[in-house]
Symmetry: C2
């Protein structure tokens, strides 16, 4: 790291800590403790005190870049995080990945049983949409409706759920790089991209800015997955907070299996450079935090 980078990195670390705390407080306020028959407690277990909150941070930073409605972006980012959290709960279940460890804790179905885990995921998805239309009318209707549509598209059959279906169907079958990328653009990319674009929707970016933020989200989303594949073979379970070596053991196609470790790392760097490039072309002036978030995604691999 050059000395010139140090203050920016420090500033970003402060921003990140501050915003992570804001997100944590907001989620703690919005995920109900009093839902019946232990459902609330299990929902809070699934959502609170864990995770880097990358998706809400992207939403907040994109909103900052367009100088948008910050309170709306907090809701939007938390809604995306709830969709992410529900997907982890369902993914971990025995009929999917059958994972017992997540963020260093027993997974939800291990802790509360499979039936409750199923309901936790279902209720978190509904709560995500509830957050986007606050009872107090504090979000303009047009914004609330647009955010609901973007989130539904990113979460559904053309987005995350569709990507998971492709992932299921691909176990033990060799996917080439275009097919692997298409799968990940849906499975994790769609929601990461939506995090950025929903944040942008909280302001009034022009068409060029929106297009470049879309490119930023797409490149960063794919980079995130390549980095994840690299970490799956280079990091241990304690560092990851989840079971390491899982994908290789499950005979799932990964970028490392396809390209080799070194080329996969280089590909992640290339994608992140594309993300930075998109920001430079956006015409937006408040993009420092989005740049820093791309670097942060990359540093997970080092």
């Amino acid at each position: 790291m050059s000395t010139a980078d140090a203050p920016a990195t420090t500033g970003f670390a402060q921003w990140r800590n501050t915003q992570q705390q804001r997100v944590e407080r907001a989620l703690s306020q919005w995920v109900p403790a009093d839902a019946p028959a232990g459902l609330g407690a299990a929902m809070r277990y699934a959502v609170l005190d864990g995770g880097k909150r990358l998706r809400p941070l992207l939403t907040l930073a994109a909103c900052e870049a367009v100088q948008g409605h910050a309170a709306a972006a907090l809701r939007a980012g938390c809604a995306v995080e709830l969709i992410h959290a529900y997907s982890l709960v369902h993914d971990d279940m025995p009929c999917m990945d059958n994972d017992v460890l997540r963020r260093g804790k027993p997974t939800v179905h291990v802790q509360f049983g499979q039936a409750q885990a199923l309901l936790v995921g279902d209720a978190l998805q509904a709560l995500a949409f509830e957050l986007l239309v606050p009872a107090d009318g504090s979000l303009p209707d047009a914004l609330a409706a647009s955010l609901c549509r973007q989130l539904a598209l990113a979460a559904g059959a053309d987005g995350m759920a569709g990507g998971q279906a492709v992932d299921l169907a691909s176990v033990g079958r060799p996917l080439d790089q275009p097919a692997l990328e298409a799968m990940h653009r849906r499975k994790t990319g769609a929601l990461l991209q939506a995090s950025v674009l929903m944040g942008a929707s909280c302001g009034q970016p022009d068409a060029q800015a929106r297009l470049q933020l879309q490119r930023y989200g797409a490149s960063l989303g794919l980079a995130f997955q390549v980095v994840d594949d690299v970490l799956d073979v280079t990091a241990d379970s304690a560092t990851l907070g989840k079971t390491a070596g899982k994908d290789a053991a499950a005979d799932k196609p990964t970028f490392v299996a396809l390209l080799g470790l070194q080329a996969a790392q280089a590909y992640a760097d290339h994608l992140l450079e594309q993300a930075h490039d998109a920001l430079r072309l956006s015409g937006l002036t408040h993009t420092d935090t989005l740049h820093a978030l791309a670097d942060w995604v990359g540093r997970r691999a080092s």
Copy 2:
């Protein structure tokens, strides 16, 4: 049946057939065939060619009662139906009710595997919200946002998912009548009531009309469940299109177990009379179809 009732019943049967076909066509158009890796086909299997479509019919009839925006009501009713359909897919899974027969066909997890069934339910919930915010802007933003909020509340931890958590926790434990009613008001009542109120939101009912439609939905929703409990002991699997005697076998609390068969039937009649009464107090003039739907819910028990 008195001869005076015959024309009204015939008119309702025609209305019902026509609207069921409209709903079926709309669902067939909106549930994607092309979602990847078989997910679209499995979603269509879960949703199409089955069911009485009670929920969309309630939405359409409530919209008719308030002389509202009919195309919006069709979307709203189909969105509610997708939530209902997803809940059946997840309920039938081995970790929940472990049922193999639904509407006379193998359940989704039997046909497509548990992992795909999980994704089908998840994707159908997202699709429900997508329907409420059409890309073409054909629903006013305020209406789209309001419908999203109502649906999220009815589906989530305070509604359907919460009721299912209570249901899970109540197996083998004696619930008294207030606790049983509280469970069902969430588990099935919230979504049935939302069907009515989302239809009403497609028009401009005054406060009194909205309050009485809320009462109608609550009474009809609970009556539906009491009738269901009666059918569970009086009908066979072929008539039900699902496994009969299931609740009693699972040692689940039911209104029949609590009150006896005859008193449960009388209680259903009483609740339906409350529903009719609410319509009479609503000040609305186009309530014939809502009256007829209440009678239809009751006739399932005879």
